[in-house]
Structures are given as structure tokens and as C-alpha cells.
């Protein structure tokens, strides 16, 4: 056990404590998988990450650093907010990418490219693994579980890019914010909900959509403050379906007292998911 550099980063916000927290151990060398998992469980956050030097293959392919991503109970091949948060912490700690403005992260799914857009970092969304409409049985169950009329779900789709999100588009952001989901009906499902914000609200803060993410937590249904993977998959559904413009900003976490901002940009075939991040704690961890 030794002291290792540590940061706790708030992701998808420029204002401390309005985003989604992430614990980052900046030197994970020599830690066993079990030690990483145990520390992650102990932090009680949705994810903790461990930065390592790239593998020889990763380095040959251009990786700047390698990261292992854990949630309580399991290691994840990829996740969105941990990718942005880890990259932010690595840059804050003095990391220099081989190509200025472009950072290549090695993780369980392979290499993920991040780009720096001013104060923002954005990752290239991984491809959808399953798309297309949901089964009508699922849609009716989701309507019941969310407490909305079936007719309030105007579109729906599989948004599976690792996490198996089932996504529904509601009529308005107000409806999204007013949801009181029923854990007994939705238990076991990961549900993404999106609704368009009024023109007046959009003019006020630039956010086109309100998003909420519900998933099976360790105590029934949980809500994630701000979700990279869901927003990536939503963009890959909504933009080609002409339900969203090629570039937009999402507001997420409002119902939890957060104010997450997710920036979506479609460039050619590639979807970029971006946001700001801020280091809220820094120091050393004994691990």
C-alpha cells in the first residue's frame, strides 16, 4: 500500500457539484483487480477509474493512457462520464497527448478518441449495438411505470451501446421532469427518457432537450445524474431519425438538483459527446 495521486472530478458541468462525480486514481500501477473493485465499492460513487500506462499494443496504436473503469460490483469495458472525467484528471495532472488537442484513451473496448474543444472534452460515441423500435409490450410497461399515457410516448427505440437502454421520447421536458417512476413496474430495466424543451427555455439556456436516466440500482430503481452512454445512444437514434438537429445541448440531472450539460455534435458519420469537467477534490489516496 502506498500514496497515489487522486482526484474526484465533477463531469458534465463547469460548476462544482452540479454534475456527475467520478473518483480517479491517477496511478493504478500494481493494483490488483480486487483492490480496484474494493476501492470502487468503498467510494460509493457510480464509477471509479484507475489510470495506467498504455499496453505495448495500445501505445503502438497511439494511446496516450490506459484506464480501467469500475462500477460497484463490476468492471466496465467503456462508460461515458468516466471517460471524460478521467481524461480531464489526466490533463489536470500534467498529461500531454501525443497529438495536441486529441487524446487517445485505451480501455476495455479498445481505443477511444477524445478531442479538446476549448474548455470542453468530447468523446467519439461508440457504435450502437442494437437499435430499432422497442416491443409494444415494453412500451406499454414503460408508460405504466413512468405514469404517463401510452400516447405520450411519441417515439421509442433501443439504445444499446453496452448498457441496454430502452429510450422513449415524451411530448415535453415538463413531462420528463414531472415523472415519478414506479420501481415495481420498471424493476430490472434501464430506461432513458427525453423530452423537448420549450422554445422560451431553450432560448434562455441553450438546452434543446431534458433527459433522465433510470436504472436498476442496488436498492431498486436509481436515477443517474448525468449519463454519457445514454446521451450518446440517444443522439445516434434522434439525429438520423430527424427528431433532433445535428448539434444540440442536453440538460440532465435537474430533478436531482444538478445541472448537467451534455453537448452533442454530429460530424459526418461520427457523433461526439462532450462536456466540461471540474476537479473538486485533489490529493492522495492510500491504496
Amino acid at each position: 500500500m502506498r500514496q497515489r495521486p487522486f482526484q474526484q472530478v465533477d463531469v458534465f458541468t463547469a460548476t462544482p457539484y452540479l454534475g456527475n462525480p467520478l473518483a480517479v486514481v491517477l496511478d493504478g500501477e500494481g493494483l490488483s483487480t480486487q483492490a480496484m473493485q474494493q476501492f470502487t465499492n468503498w467510494t460509493n460513487l457510480s464509477e471509479a477509474t484507475f489510470v495506467l500506462p498504455p499496453t505495448p499494443e495500445g501505445r503502438a496504436a497511439g494511446a496516450d493512457y490506459r484506464v480501467r473503469i469500475f462500477c460497484p460490483g463490476a468492471e466496465l469495458p467503456f462508460a461515458g462520464h468516466p471517460t471524460l472525467g478521467t481524461c480531464h484528471a489526466w490533463l489536470q495532472a500534467g498529461g500531454q497527448p501525443r497529438t495536441p488537442g486529441r487524446v487517445v484513451q485505451e480501455c476495455g473496448v479498445g481505443l477511444v478518441t477524445l478531442r479538446q474543444d476549448g474548455e470542453r472534452l468530447a468523446f467519439a460515441a461508440p457504435p450502437l449495438l442494437q437499435s430499432g423500435p422497442l416491443d409494444e409490450v415494453d412500451v406499454e410497461r414503460i408508460a405504466r411505470g413512468l405514469g404517463v399515457a401510452r400516447s405520450d410516448i411519441v417515439h421509442h427505440a433501443w439504445c444499446h451501446n453496452g448498457p441496454h437502454w430502452r429510450a422513449v421520447l415524451l411530448r415535453s421536458a415538463e413531462q420528463v421532469l414531472g415523472l415519478r417512476p414506479d420501481p415495481a413496474t420498471l424493476g430490472g430495466l434501464s430506461i432513458g427518457v427525453v423530452g423537448p424543451r420549450s422554445a422560451a427555455r431553450q432560448a434562455a439556456d441553450g438546452c434543446a432537450f431534458e433527459v433522465r436516466a433510470f436504472f436498476p440500482g442496488n436498492h431498486g430503481l436509481a436515477e443517474d445524474p448525468v449519463t454519457g452512454s445514454l446521451n450518446a445512444a440517444l443522439a445516434q437514434w434522434l439525429i438520423p431519425a430527424h427528431l433532433a438537429p445535428r448539434s444540440y445541448v442536453v440538460s440532465q440531472g435537474t430533478a436531482l438538483g444538478r445541472a448537467g450539460r451534455v453537448h452533442v455534435d454530429q460530424e459526418g458519420a461520427q457523433t461526439w459527446i462532450g462536456g466540461q469537467a471540474v476537479t473538486c477534490m485533489r490529493g492522495e489516496v492510500r491504496l
Binding site: C280, R286, L287
Partner: protein, 287 residues
């Protein structure tokens, strides 16, 4: 926003990761209630504490420091593991109590005496009210734990601020094997503690008492290691001759922890709840 000295402590453990974590902001002067609550909610630990100089009344009464204790849901007047962890952080930061080995903590619930000896901090368990449980509620809780009524050797409602329904069970295996229906316990609105006392419990060279704490109504299905519950359990079990005046508790095993709570009743009848603590994360928080 300034950087404030910060520690994340593991309480009731001597090895990082084995106990119950606590976030401590070491200099909280100037923070508003809303600042404290926002950071505690974001940190997502069962408790976050803020150290302050004693009030004038506290200083006159001998207090060494003042602490405010927040869960993600609100401020608490008193809690056990935050008391030991805050005191540990205060001492680690180089402070000296006015009376060597005897620290006085001021908190919303009043003054708490803390003894320091042999690398162990122990707090004087606060006064506790106990009563026989409502038989109907006891039957429902017993059912939610998957127990038969005859497996409960004794039951008591213990209230020292936090209110626990405590069940004495006939074996450690039974305690460790429980798979409670947390949704049901949440509906019943009852926090539940279970305990087994081995015949050899007066031998404190190894744990002779096994405890688990289920707190779904507080949003925490199982607490890793629980100061308040162990204080109340000791006051009940020792008074009824169901446990010796000094014993060692193991808690947290099912969560992969190895918490150790040292219980002692002194000549005046005061129960002391003690444990080791270790600083795991040390640095600053932006607050």
C-alpha cells in the same frame, strides 16, 4: 471557491477499505447550510462532516471542536461513525485536546465525550430509550428478514436518536446468511439491527459478537459499520445480561468489509463505543 483541507477516513477499521467511509472537511468556516448539504449529497457517502471552532457556549463547556454532520438527505444531530472519523481527522490535522486523551465534541445533539487510548478512539454512547416492539410489526419484520418467529431469541426497540428494531439471533451463521427483503423493510419504515453474541464473547482477542444493520428507510439497505446501533445494542445486551461488559464486534462482512467495534462498559455504567480509523484520502476540496 477556495480549496479546503479534506480527508476521507475509513472508520472502525485499521486497513483502508475494511470499514465505513466518512468525508471530512477540516475547515468549514464560512460555508452555508446549502453548501454543506450540496457537497454531502454529491459525495454520496452515508455521512459527510464539517469541522468548526466550538461556539462560545461550547468553548465554555470544554468543547475542543464543533462538527456538523450531514447525510445525503439532511443534517443529523448525532451519529457514531462520523464522530469517531471527525475526531480522528481533527487529531491527524495536528490539533491537541485541552485534556490529554479526553476530547469533547460539540455537535447539534450536544456534547460528546471521546476517549483516546491505545490507538483507539471511543465515544460515550448517548442515553438510550428502549421498549418492547409492537408484536404485529415484529412479525412483519421477522418475515421480511426470512426468519421464523422462534429464531428470534429477544427483540427490542432501541432509540438514541436513530431508532432501531434490534433482534438477537441464535447463531452468527444465521446473521450472516440473512437476505432481507429491503423493499419490504422500506415499506415498513423500520431500520433493523440483528446481532448474535457467542458464548466466548468475553474473549476480546477476536470478535465474539456479529452485527448487521439494515436501513432501507434511510436509503441505505445495509450499513457497513454502525456506531449508533452498536452503542444501543451494548446498552441493551449488557443491561439484560445477554452480553459481557467488554466485547469485540464484527460488522460488514457480507459487504466485503471487516469492521471492528470495541465495546466497553466502565465502572460508572457508561458504555463506550470504540474503533480504529485510518485516513485513506488526504488533500483539498473545492468548497
Amino acid at each position: 471557491m477556495p480549496e479546503r483541507a479534506f480527508q476521507q477516513i475509513d472508520v472502525f477499521s485499521q486497513r483502508p477499505g475494511d470499514g465505513n467511509p466518512l468525508a471530512v472537511v477540516l475547515d468549514a468556516q464560512g460555508l452555508s447550510d446549502a453548501d454543506m448539504q450540496r457537497f454531502a449529497t454529491w459525495a454520496n457517502l452515508s455521512e459527510t462532516t464539517y469541522l468548526l471552532p466550538p461556539t462560545e457556549a461550547g468553548l465554555a463547556a470544554g468543547a475542543d471542536y464543533r462538527v456538523r454532520i450531514f447525510s445525503p438527505r439532511g443534517e443529523l444531530s448525532f451519529a457514531g461513525h462520523p464522530t469517531l472519523g471527525s475526531c480522528h481527522a481533527w487529531l491527524q490535522a495536528g490539533h491537541q485536546p485541552r485534556v490529554a486523551g479526553a476530547i469533547v465534541q460539540e455537535c447539534a445533539g450536544g456534547f460528546v465525550r471521546i476517549e483516546q487510548s491505545d490507538g483507539l478512539l471511543a465515544f460515550a454512547a448517548p442515553p438510550m430509550q428502549r421498549s418492547a416492539p409492537n408484536p404485529a410489526l415484529l412479525a412483519l419484520v421477522t418475515g421480511a428478514l426470512g426468519l421464523r418467529p422462534q429464531q428470534v431469541l429477544a427483540a427490542q426497540v432501541l432509540d438514541n436518536g436513530p431508532r432501531w428494531l434490534a433482534l438477537l439471533l441464535p447463531s452468527a451463521e444465521l446473521v450472516l446468511g440473512l437476505q432481507p427483503d429491503h423493499a419490504r423493510l422500506k415499506d415498513l419504515g423500520q431500520d433493523v439491527g440483528v446481532v448474535h453474541v457467542a458464548p466466548s464473547a468475553s474473549d476480546t482477542s477476536r470478535p465474539g459478537v456479529t452485527v448487521r444493520a439494515f436501513a432501507a428507510p434511510m436509503g441505505n439497505p445495509e450499513d457497513p459499520v454502525t456506531g449508533s446501533l452498536n452503542g444501543s445494542l451494548a446498552q441493551w445486551l449488557i443491561a439484560e445480561g445477554l452480553a459481557p461488559q467488554r466485547y469485540l464486534v464484527a460488522q460488514g462482512e457480507r459487504l466485503g468489509r471487516a469492521g471492528r467495534v470495541h465495546i466497553r462498559q466502565d465502572e460508572q455504567g457508561q458504555v463506550w463505543v470504540g474503533g480504529q480509523s485510518v485516513t485513506c484520502i488526504q488533500g483539498t476540496a473545492l468548497l
